[in-house]
């Protein structure tokens, strides 16, 4: 029984390939729809996947297990006090707290005078979290923060405008008239922080980082309105968020809208969901091409069946069962659509490779995309080949034989 099936499959395969080969041009035009559909689907999935992984990477670099707090506070209490910070730092599973104080100021060096320089105040935790931030010199230490030291690190733009051609290390700058010792320079790694970019805190005039305590003094403020809370174990992010809420509620007397906590992980999840919804939508649109391709195959198969009516009749006279005739034509349409699918996969991967090179994204062949491509095209072959194959199998052998 198995042998019988196998022989039939083999013969059907051979016949199908011969028939498709005999009408190469027609077959090619027929599968073009499938090729276009599968190409579109594969390219979309692969490109969206590398885009997604690029975005995910960026967000992960920013730090999962990080809660960003914007604490505008209330009219009575604008921001968080040092005591509030301390109680947040000592919460369970909190690894560190990094406040940030943003400001702009006029900066003077021995040679230059620059307005609107971004002055960011951070503590040592910020530098621990951004390992490659310091290019030369040293980072801000806990002692600098504690004793409000007037020390600063400059980024490339600030170095250029303030110390063109000179080594800034060990030099002094004046920020709003206060003297600051330059202890280090910043690398460009800092620019990978999407949030910083989004907040627009890096200006053309350059960026200077000083201890946040000094920055508070500079700004004439006492309280912190923006900080990042780092979680020691990402499994406890939700728990930390809850206890953080407790502290903030207490600090702001349970006033509404006095603070906002952004969970980087949930942001990442939202982004992921959005991207995959977008992918699905695009794939849905691309599937229309596949549908059109399927109709093309159905049309060609119907033509083939009527062209080969005599052959069908003969095969029936020789003892072919209706099911065997149906199988033969079904195999032909499946071969047709799968070969279209394979061409589509190759083209789709090629297009997404070119795209990844142009857009500077990582390129990874997605197994799912290939499975989808083959699966879709096989399904189209079966789905749209069914009716013509059925028609062939139902032909009356004498009518078929007479049609010579």
């Amino acid at each position: 029984m198995l042998k019988k099936k196998f022989g039939l499959w083999k013969e059907s395969l051979r016949m199908s390939v011969a028939n498709i080969w005999d009408s190469k041009m027609r077959s090619f035009l027929t599968v073009l729809g499938i090729v276009i559909g599968v190409t579109a689907i594969i390219a979309l999935i692969t490109i969206m996947q590398s885009a997604t992984s690029a975005v995910t990477e960026e967000f992960t670099a920013m730090g999962t297990g990080r809660l960003v707090v914007n604490a505008g506070g209330t009219a009575l209490k604008t921001g968080l006090s040092a005591e509030d910070l301390e109680s947040i730092r000592t919460l369970p599973y909190v690894q560190g707290v990094s406040p940030s104080v943003g400001n702009t100021a006029t900066v003077k060096s021995a040679d230059a005078w620059v307005e609107d320089v971004t002055i960011d105040g951070y503590n040592e935790v910020y530098f621990q979290r951004n390992q490659n931030l310091v290019a030369r010199g040293r980072a801000i230490s806990p002692l600098d923060v504690q004793s409000r030291n007037h020390v600063a690190l400059l980024d490339a733009a600030a170095q250029k405008s303030l110390f063109y051609g000179k080594d800034p290390l060990g030099q002094t700058i004046h920020i709003n008239g206060y003297a600051y010792l330059i202890i280090g320079t910043l690398s460009d790694a800092d620019s990978s922080d999407v949030m910083t970019q989004a907040q627009g805190s890096s200006s053309d005039s350059g960026r200077v980082i000083i201890p946040y305590t000094s920055a508070l003094t500079l700004a004439g403020r006492r309280n912190i309105t923006s900080l990042s809370v780092y979680v020691s174990d990402t499994a406890y992010t939700d728990q930390v968020q809850t206890s953080l809420k407790g502290v903030l509620d207490a600090a702001f007397n349970y006033k509404d809208d006095s603070y906002k906590i952004i969970n980087m992980e949930s942001l990442l999840n939202t982004m992921d969901t959005m991207l995959s919804m977008m992918t699905m939508l695009l794939v849905g649109i691309a599937s229309i091409a596949l549908l059109v391709g399927g109709i093309g195959i159905m049309n060609m198969m119907l033509v083939t069946v009527s062209e080969r009516t005599a052959e069908i009749g003969l095969r029936k006279a020789l003892g072919a069962e209706p099911g065997q005739i149906q199988l033969q034509f079904l195999i032909e349409s499946i071969i047709l659509s799968i070969s279209g699918g394979l061409i589509g996969i190759v083209l789709g991967l090629g297009i997404s490779y070119i795209f990844s090179v142009i857009a500077n994204l990582s390129f990874a062949i997605s197994g799912m995309a290939i499975v989808l491509g083959v699966g879709f095209s096989a399904a189209v072959g079966i789905g749209f080949g069914w009716a013509p194959a059925r028609k062939a199998s139902a032909l009356n052998p004498i009518d078929a034989l007479r049609s010579i």
């Binding site: 019988k4 039939l8 083999k10 013969e11 003969l314 029936k316 003892g319 209706p322 065997q324």
Partner: protein
Amino acid sequence: MNDEFFRMTGIVKRYHMGDEWQTVLRGIDLTVVEGDFLSVLGPSGSGKTTLMNIIGCLDTPSEGEYVLKGRVISKQDAKQLAAIRNKEIGFVFQSFQLLPRMDAIRNVELPLIYSGMGEKERWRNAEEMLVRVGLQDKLHHHPNQLSGGQQQRVAIARAMVTNPSILLADEPTGALDQTTGKQVMELFGEINSEGHTIIMITHDLSIAQHARRIVHILDGELMEGEETHA
């Protein structure tokens, strides 16, 4: 002396032609014994092809009973009919009906694929059959590389490769010249002498005379004919 091969009683076949019913066969009674060589002789339009289709289980009668080797044909489903055609009946057509894309041996092995024989065995049988019809040097020729007589011999090899009980031939010499036609008839004679039943449909008396027995068909009715000297 011989066993009854098939029996037809009161076979009527009507076709729906537009609004009218056309009766093609009007009550055919025919019994064929095993090893018989029967010619059905009749002009075109006499219903002889319809009769052959019914004998060959390609068509079913509107009325009447057809029993082939103990099986009532009207009670078989499509799959069973396919099996009967495959194992019991070998068809030879006027226009040969070879598949143009396949070489001789592939054409001959075709019925064996449907009977589920393994590939090696199929090839051995097909080759053997082609040798028997004298085409040992044409195994891999395609139909368009063969003469009409050679094509008909390929078709006969294909009909006989499953070792069927009956060979059904519809105008087997209709597309051949006289000499080749005669050769084909000699081949039929050989096949018949090996014990295969042959039913041949023709409008040509000289061809019909190669059979042992001739029945005439006219306007859908059979007239028992004469025994020939063949």
